[in-house]
């Protein structure tokens, strides 16, 4: 069984990460009735004997003594991480897995990437090596961050290069939160575009998540829950809508519900790797099947724990007529079946698609960027940082434009008649 390490960077990354660990614990608690540390749990948790001082506390089998998450928490200001460490999940995290600073990145990608990057490079490398050593067979790094801020986007993307050099065989899955149009950070377009260049080059797979869409989903659910019209569509006690059974929070924070959805997404993604099923799917299979060209590794995700499905045993072909597949991949389905359902549901379905519909999101981002860049607004904050020049900006934009163009080309084939290339002919 393989292990994965979660790297949470910045405020957004850490808050989502916290949610994720909470859900993971609940899920494993529901499945693992006997308290034995088995392979499923070991994919995300270590079993540690806390009485042993120092490093040698890991126990590989037997009863669960104390679970420690395989995670590295990074933030350049202390507030969020301190809160986590004082909250109910404090025992799940190892104090040796944290990297914090005091001043923060000031919503400035350059500060996060260049200043803190070089400052903490060695420490970061060491933490990664440590967590890799604790793993029997490390398969992938999950990086959670936002694109609009300073630490998450700057330092988060700096990490990718480090990971690529140090662990070239381990997959890098990045969950990136893209800012909505009404984001309160004015320079978020700058941060996002600069970060995207790094994502293009150093990530294996990116799951872009749009804050705006999450807002919409939550409002829809809220509407349904509040109006009392539940029916079969929304399950009241599901992991998505309620936090009953979760650790009690004194007051609900504004982004909680949205973070919950993203955490669910990550859980479902890894479920086939953790639990058994009749058709397993490992994480490296996701990359293999859904990334036809190295640049196009952006996967749009959709999750339905909200509907009960009747027929999950066979590849879901119902969507086929409404989707337009590329001509050379008419049946581009990859299916996986896992026999352990999520908490509160009998079935769930996660769909990952490599879809040209990410193109409008990117184009919008580019537009917002250009509006600021044309006026050179706020640029001096970035250029003040050592190592940062205007060429960084222009390179980032051209990288994004190239990406958009590749998606364009595929879109253009949509309406063309399919021409099969002539096959090889054999002389008899």
């Amino acid at each position: 069984m393989t292990q994965s390490v979660v790297v949470q960077v910045g405020q957004c990354g850490n808050q989502i990460g916290c949610c994720f660990w909470d859900l993971a614990l609940r899920e494993h608690a529901a499945v693992n009735q006997k308290g034995i540390y088995d392979e499923a749990i070991s994919s995300f948790f270590r079993n540690v004997d806390t009485r042993v001082v120092g490093d040698g506390g890991s126990i590989s089998k037997g009863k669960i003594c104390s679970l420690k998450a395989r995670a590295v928490l990074i933030d350049m200001e202390e507030g969020v991480v301190n809160e986590i460490l004082q909250g109910p999940l404090r025992d799940v995290f190892d104090t040796k897995q944290l990297i914090t600073d005091i001043s923060g990145s000031g919503n400035n990608w350059a500060v996060g990437h260049k200043v803190f990057g070089s400052l903490y490079q060695d420490q970061i490398l060491e933490k990664f090596r440590k967590s890799a050593e604790h793993c029997d067979c490390l398969q992938c790094f999950f990086i959670i961050h936002s694109m609009g801020g300073g630490t998450g986007s700057g330092l988060g993307t700096f990490l990718l290069k480090v990971l690529e050099d140090e662990f070239p065989e381990v997959y890098r899955f990045v969950t990136s939160i893209y800012p909505s149009g009404e984001d309160d950070v004015i320079t978020s377009p700058y941060n996002s575009i600069l970060a995207m260049k790094e994502l293009n080059e150093h990530a294996d797979c990116v799951l872009p998540i749009d804050n705006q869409s999450l807002f919409d989903i939550i409002s829809k659910i809220d509407l349904m829950v509040n109006s009392g019209k539940l029916g079969t569509t929304v399950k009241p006690k599901s992991l998505v809508t309620s936090s009953s059974g979760a650790l009690k929070k004194r007051h609900k924070k504004p982004f909680d519900a949205m973070n919950n959805i993203v955490a669910n997404l990550l859980l479902n993604l890894t479920s086939s790797a953790r639990f058994e099923g009749s058709l397993n799917m490992d994480l490296n299979e996701i990359s293999m099947n859904l990334v036809p060209f190295p640049q196009l590794h952006y996967l749009v995700s959709s999750l339905t724990p909200l509907y009960t499905l009747t027929d999950v045993n066979i590849p879901p072909r119902r969507l086929k007529p409404s989707l337009q597949f590329v001509s050379w991949n008419q049946e581009g389905w990859k299916t996986s079946l896992c026999s352990v359902p999520p908490v509160g549901h009998s079935h769930s379905l996660l769909a990952l698609a490599n879809n040209t519909c990410v193109k409008p999101t990117f184009m919008e981002l580019k537009e917002r960027f250009m509006r600021l860049y044309k006026k050179k607004a706020h640029l001096h904050h970035y250029l003040q940082v050592e190592g940062m020049e205007e060429s960084c900006f222009t390179e980032a934009v051209s990288s994004l434009s190239a990406l958009i163009q590749e998606y364009d080309q595929l879109d253009a084939t949509k309406n063309m008649p399919v021409q099969d290339l002539p096959r090889l002919s054999i002389a008899m």
């Binding site: 069984m1 393989t2 009749s278 293999m288 991949n329 990859k334 008899m428």
Partner: protein
């Protein structure tokens, strides 16, 4: 070269087969003058290279048969392998053999010798090697076998790693293969040494994934090098047409082209076809892979369980693998075999059905060519076969008295025919289209499979398609 078919019949009492068979004639391109009337009736029946029918439903002596070692690769291979051994053993222990006790004992002994090795504590151990690159499936398979109480797998008969092949043929073939070659071949060798008289290998794998297909191709190649005198039959699962894995077409063509060179016979089962059997004939509402695997196991079991040898009804056939191959694979250009089996019914209908041979054979015929009743003579009609084969050589019968697995009478047809050309053609076409746009190729070149390797595979498969079409 001989093309043969084998008809195996299990008789409770001697019966004559009556039937009339009509079919169309096909014209070979080189034929200049033909005295027969040439009529081509649609649909054109596929040309057949060899037919083997195994019927089940005199007391042979205890002539022990040669042993077959099964290699199960990947998730699919291991899941199916388990079902096959289970089916073989439960049939062998079944109380409804409908034959004499001595006969039953001989049957059981023959089956045991073929597929299981001596017991410790009375529990037979399957002659199998389990290989997978990640541990979940193997662990499941081992525990299911042990739980049955009837049989189990050998303790040291498995090889597994921690991280799978990621549906990547190149990873299975170029990375896992060489890395683990020695360990895997060691385990196989130990298993072969346990056999008193070794017949050959039966390798179960799928074409669509990474381990079964890539590592399977590598292992088969190694077996060809190290055990060139033994026979190898690969049982390959053809994936659903509408996608279990996106790069399944690439993986399939790479697998088939490599196996065509190193294996002796390829026994192909299509998931789509078995799905249809489950849906229409067995009325299973929610078909799972477990159901599909069980149907498959039933088909394979009915081919491989002991039957009388050609010489007399007094001995059981010693070397089914060898005889099958000798008769069904006359020419190395034509190696693809398929299996059709009747009857298939759900447990409920079983109790209320009585079997007649005419009915069974009619079904069987209908599966091979549409719309005809037949007789054994009908199987011998020369027009069914290609011109370079005499029907009397192309058609063979294997019989046994004993009934198989709750069916009083059953029949299985193994054929080497043009039946599989169409699916093969489709897969090659789809893979070619994808290849033309270079999609996913970087995933393969990362591990050493270059575009030339793809082109080689395409060429050899186009050759196979053309050869079959020219029959």
């Amino acid at each position: 070269m001989r093309m043969v078919s084998r008809l195996v019949r299990s008789l409770n009492r001697t019966e004559a087969l009556v039937g009339v068979w009509r079919q169309g004639l096909a014209v070979l391109p080189r034929l200049v003058w033909n005295p027969w009337a040439q009529v081509i009736l649609p649909p054109r029946p596929p040309k057949v290279l060899g037919l083997q029918v195994v019927f089940r439903g005199n007391t042979p002596s205890l002539w022990l048969s040669m042993s077959i070692v099964t290699v199960q690769l990947g998730q699919c291979g291991n899941q199916i392998g388990f079902e096959v051994f289970d089916a073989l053993l439960s049939d062998s222990h079944s109380s409804q053999g409908l034959c004499s006790m001595r006969e039953n004992e001989a049957y059981q002994a023959s089956c045991k010798e073929r597929f299981f090795s001596e017991e410790e504590n009375g529990v037979p151990i399957a002659r199998a090697v389990l290989v997978d690159m990640e541990p979940k499936v193997i662990n499941q398979t081992l525990s299911k076998a042990a739980q049955s109480g009837q049989w189990k797998y050998g303790q040291h008969a498995c090889f597994c790693q921690k991280q799978g092949s990621g549906n990547n043929w190149a990873y299975g073939y170029s990375v896992h293969g060489p890395r683990h070659e020695e360990s895997i071949m060691n385990i196989i060798r130990k298993e072969v040494e346990k056999c008193d008289s070794f017949s050959g290998f039966f390798i179960i794998m799928s074409m669509a994934g990474g381990t079964g297909s890539g590592l399977g191709a590598f292992v088969t190649q190694n077996l060809e090098d190290q055990y060139s005198n033994s026979l190898k039959m690969n049982q390959i699962i053809w994936p659903y047409g509408t996608g279990e894995v996106i790069v399944q077409n690439y993986n399939s063509i790479l697998t088939l082209s490599h196996l065509y060179r190193s294996s002796d016979a390829l026994l192909l089962h299509e998931n789509d076809a078995i799905h249809k059997i489950c849906a229409k004939l067995m009325n299973i509402k929610q078909i799972s892979f477990s159901d599909i695997n069980q149907v498959l196991a039933h088909q394979l079991g009915s081919v491989f369980q002991p039957t009388y040898s050609a010489e007399s009804s007094f001995h059981y056939r010693r070397n089914p693998l060898g005889d099958l191959m000798e008769h069904l694979v006359p020419h190395p250009e034509f190696k693809m075999l398929s299996v059709r089996n009747i009857p298939h019914m759900s447990e409920n209908s079983l109790a209320y059905t009585t079997f007649t041979w005419a009915g069974l054979l009619k079904h069987l015929r209908q599966m091979l060519i549409s719309n005809a009743k037949m007789e054994e003579e009908g199987f011998k009609d020369p027009a069914l076969y290609t011109s370079w084969l005499k029907p009397v050589n192309a058609f063979n019968v294997w019989k046994t008295q004993r009934a198989f697995s709750k069916y009083e009478k059953s029949a299985v047809l193994v054929s080497n025919s043009q039946f599989l050309v169409k699916p093969l053609d489709m897969i090659v076409g789809k893979a070619w289209n994808m290849f033309a746009s270079k999609a996913y190729i970087h995933q393969y070149t990362k591990f050493g499979i270059e575009e030339e390797d793809f082109l080689d595979s395409f060429t050899s498969l186009e050759q196979v398609v053309a050869s079959y079409c020219n029959l």
